[in-house]
């Protein structure tokens, strides 16, 4: 065994000991009150309890999106692990200046799940996901309000428009596939998706 591997083993042993010692580890009580930016900074410094707090904050959304796309709890759990582990390894991929963490994790999760659904190798590198948004989902109360508002907005859309959006988002269908499935012209599908997204933006513009 090389010295490097011995060191690795020793450090792994230490990690296991720390983990087993604190079955309630990590204590996220303090970290749970941090903003997303504070959590990300702590994670970049290697703070495992900050990662636990991040998981507690967003695992529900991440898991629910993956489950909705894949329809399989085990597969959704795998995606959940992939997304958070990727973030632990490369949190620098998230640019806090360009948007908030909740929406970013949601998009990353959805893309990964679609890749899995289409039985592709994961094409979505977290570093390739760039989005702009003002929505901050850090607080539980904010997330609850957001959920209610999104559901209300989506339910207010014409059924065909909502259906086109959901087929693209949750099933990963292209506009030509949606057109073929619904028997609608391509132009109609394009317009429905565009106006559906515009309605969502408008609902959250104020």
């Amino acid at each position: 065994m090389t010295i490097g591997r011995k060191v690795q083993s020793a450090l792994s042993l230490c990690s296991v000991i720390f983990t087993e010692k604190g079955n309630d580890l990590p204590d996220t009580g303090v970290k749970g009150a941090l903003s997303d930016g504070g959590l990300v900074a702590a994670i970049r410094a290697g703070d495992q309890s900050a990662m636990a707090a991040l998981y507690d904050r967003y695992s529900g959304i991440v898991y629910a999106v993956a489950l909705r796309v894949l329809g399989d709890s085990a597969a959704a759990e795998d995606i959940l692990q992939e997304v958070f582990l990727s973030f632990w390894r490369r949190s620098e991929a998230f640019d806090a200046h360009r948007g908030n963490l909740g929406p970013w994790l949601t998009v990353v999760t959805r893309n990964r799940a679609i890749d899995r659904l289409r039985k592709q190798r994961p094409e979505t590198d977290i570093e390739g996901v760039v989005l702009l948004t003002d929505h901050d989902w850090a607080q539980e109360s904010d997330r609850a309000r957001l959920l209610e508002r999104v559901r209300r907005t989506l339910s207010g859309l014409p059924a065909a428009q909502k259906s086109a959006l959901e087929m693209a988002y949750f099933e990963g269908l292209s506009h030509t596939e949606i057109a073929a499935k619904t028997g609608e012209p391509l132009g109609t599908i394009k317009a429905r998706i565009r106006t559906g997204l515009a309605a969502l933006r408008k609902a959250f513009a104020t």
Binding site: I3, V7, A10, S12, C14, S15, I17, F18, T19, K21, P26, D27, I43, R44, A45, G46, Q48, M51, A52, Y55, S59, I61, V62, Y63, A64, V65, R68, E77, L80, Q81, F84, L85, W88, G99, G102, P103, W104, T106, I114, V129, V130, L131, L132, T133, D134, H135, L146, L147, V150, L165, A168, Y169, L173, S174, H175, K190, R194, L197, L200, R201
Partner: protein, 254 residues
């Protein structure tokens, strides 16, 4: 936001990953040059995140959290922060042992780095010495108080003499001369590089000092220009693009 209207539908589709084929290729090409549409695409991606929120309600099993935390514990980042001290006494020994091994590794790496550093320092010192030597050569050649003495056969009357040092690869040309005759008013000497083929190339305009000495570092020549010979003519003070008087001095490569 103002975007190119013809791309508005496709931007929305692309934000959802629903655009494929030729239309996707065309849009991606446009995005390479359009900042407004690129920004709109990023905002549309942010909008799509809202659709994901609509499905919240399911909760991952508890084992997922434990599985993740065990995984990240096995992959410590740069400077893991442990907020509690372990109660087991022997744990300190394990950490200490790991620290000793790490120190040994660091020492070995440090020794390697020291060797690399020493080699780099030696190389740097050698290059500095060469640079200083080159600077001394150039300074001596171009110094206004430099004596330019050409030794010739005894009893030979003073003759104008010039020497060019030319590197085609670097395009650098240095010219030194002495015993150059005084010039008529509003005239100057012009040095010419005579290439293997084609017309002479102007290589610098100069006037000798009161002792007839010249030190000229010519403007950079086109790299790789091979010289068949060098020549000097008398030209107007501003120089000429082509020789306008008979060649006064000439020399070919040695």
């Amino acid at each position: 936001m103002s975007v190119h209207e013809q791309y508005a539908d496709d931007l929305a589709l692309h934000a959802l990953g629903a655009l494929r084929g030729e239309e996707l290729v065309v849009l991606q090409k446009h995005l390479q040059t359009c900042g407004e549409c690129s920004r709109e695409l990023e905002q549309l991606r942010g909008d799509t995140a809202l659709i994901g929120v609509s499905v919240t309600g399911a909760h991952p099993p508890d084992r997922s959290r434990k599985r993740l935390l065990e995984a990240i514990a096995g992959e410590p980042r740069h400077s893991p922060v442990h907020t509690r001290r372990p109660a087991w006494g022997w744990l300190g020994w394990a950490v200490a042992a790991a620290a000793i091994v790490l120190a040994a590794i660091s020492w070995r790496q440090n020794a390697g780095l020291q060797r690399s550093l020493a080699e780099s320092s030696h190389e740097q010192a050698r290059e500095m010495a060469e640079l200083q030597r080159a600077r001394r050569v150039v300074a001596a050649l171009t110094s206004t108080d430099a004596m330019h003495v050409t030794l010739v056969h005894a009893n030979t009357p003073p003759q104008p003499q010039g020497r060019t040092i030319y590197s085609p690869h670097q395009g650098t040309l240095i010219f030194v001369a002495n015993n150059m005759p005084a010039l008529p008013a509003q005239k100057a000497y012009e040095l010419w590089l005579i290439p293997m083929q084609g017309a002479p190339l102007p290589a610098g305009v100069f006037k000798p000092d009161t002792h007839g000495n010249v030190s000229l570092i010519a403007p950079p020549m086109p790299n790789g220009t091979q010289a068949k010979a060098f020549a000097i003519t008398v030209e107007p003070e501003a120089g000429s693009p082509a020789p306008t008087s008979p060649v006064m001095m000439v020399g070919t490569g040695e």
